[in-house]
Amino acid sequence: MNLTLYVWRQKGPHAPGKLARYEARGISPEMSFLEMLDVVNESLIREGEEPISFDHDCREGICGTCSQVINGVPHGPQERTTVCQLHMRSFRDGDTIYIEPWRARAFPVIRDLIVDRSAFERIIQAGGYISVHTGGVPDGNALLIPKENADTAMDAAECIGCGACVAACPNGSAMLFTAAKVSHLAALPQGRVEAKRRVCLMTEEMLRQGFGSCSNHYECQAACPKGIRVSFIAKLNREFIKALPRGTNTAPPSPSHGTEAKE
């Protein structure tokens, strides 16, 4: 296959960027999208040019680092598929492909196709955890969890934090990501304890990091490679409304655990 690529090139966070045209020749349909870029980079290196910088790690669709918007769609044309799992057979010989980084104020470009997603980390640090007093390993099934709740939590936990939801959102909002984390923990008894504080702290942090708000366009669900659903956003909204009577909601964690668990 021969393809024409327009790739976003940007030397650094503050440098201006632009789309540059490259020809990808002799690409096999069995290659993954990232392998195709490897081939292009090898030829760039041979010609003495700067190779295209892009993020990747596992190349098996679980780490969430590969972050490319392909023809305007985060992770490209195949549903529920990360860029690393996308294969060139999804394209046709002679196609023109536009490759750009995630675009959002909260995700500044580091170089070419690589963006800084640590804003997600800071949302997690704000409340995406449970405070536990470590001790002995609890007995199996000492804490009963209904199957339905366990399933909901597992579905939400599928989020790999890749940021495609932010990239797809016309508002650059991190609601799907935040909602997946909030729902995951709120579905489990261990997470209920801090549920009210968590939803407030995490959504506040989302705003502080420069993400937009949710207008319910549902672009995020369509772009998510892991099938995280917008019903989790409804769940986040429910959790937020339940937390309203608590006042400003930014109080430090109460030292006595279990007071909120009975709700």
């Binding site: 327009y6 305007g72 937009g212 669900q221 019903s231 909204n237």
Partner: protein, 223 residues
């Protein structure tokens, strides 16, 4: 409760509640309009205006809802625009619709129309000589029918109303379903049902409203 005005999620909750209150008003208003088709508009208006407490409660509630809707609406719009600097070379919308992407503009059109509509039919500053308070019907009631019939004889005027109602149709097509999501009243199973019902309600409202200028313009309803 302070988070209702500071948090992005809180602002959306405010917008959803106020949007739903205004939608309820818009439904009742349309039902009231239908009295025109049976020649009962003057009687309806006279009865309604005799219920001062009801009228003023509704007015104050709507004014509050409007403020609670428009202020966060514009704030969020500006915030969201800042959060997304620049778009992609090719933009492929996967799910967003024309209606969902233009909420702030259809909202502004509704807002501008609202001011005009109040000046026109409520305060009767526009064509005051045709206003209901200037003309009494044979039963001694303010002649609302005459005012409405006169207004929509003008094609330009009728078209202006129809344009504003199209903006309302678009706003509610996305707005109704979106408000349920913002209030967390959604699950995987309810989402498609609510999306479709929201569209149906918005469409029924649109048709109910445009019927008034249309049948007058087409000469089906005469004075």
């Amino acid at each position: 409760m302070r988070v209702l005005v500071t948090s992005q999620v809180g602002k959306k909750v405010l917008m959803a509640v106020s949007g739903q209150l205004m939608t309820l008003f818009v439904i009742v208003h349309m039902l009231g309009n239908t009295t025109l088709f049976f020649g009962g508009l003057n009687a309806y208006a006279a009865k309604l205006h005799s219920l001062l407490l009801l009228v003023w409660t509704a007015r104050l509630l709507m004014l509050t809802a409007l403020v609670a809707h428009v202020v966060p609406g514009i704030q969020l719009y500006l915030e969201n625009r800042k959060a997304k600097p620049g778009s992609y070379a090719i933009r492929n919308s996967l799910r967003a619709t024309f209606a969902s992407k233009n909420m702030v503009w259809t909202g502004m059109i509704i807002g501008a129309f609202l001011i005009y509509h109040l000046l026109h039919f409520t305060f009767q500053f526009i064509h005051p000589e045709q206003g209901a308070s200037a003309n009494i019907d044979p039963l001694g009631r303010p002649d609302v029918s005459r005012m409405v019939l006169f207004s929509f004889q003008s094609t330009a005027h009728a078209l202006m109303y129809i344009t504003a109602l199209t903006a309302l149709l678009l706003h509610l097509t996305h707005g109704i379903q979106s408000s349920f999501q913002s209030l967390g009243l959604n699950t995987d199973r309810s989402i498609p049902v609510i999306v479709r019902s929201g569209f149906v309600v918005a469409m029924v409202l649109f048709l109910g409203y445009i019927a008034v200028p249309l049948i007058i313009l087409l000469g089906i309803l005469k004075g």
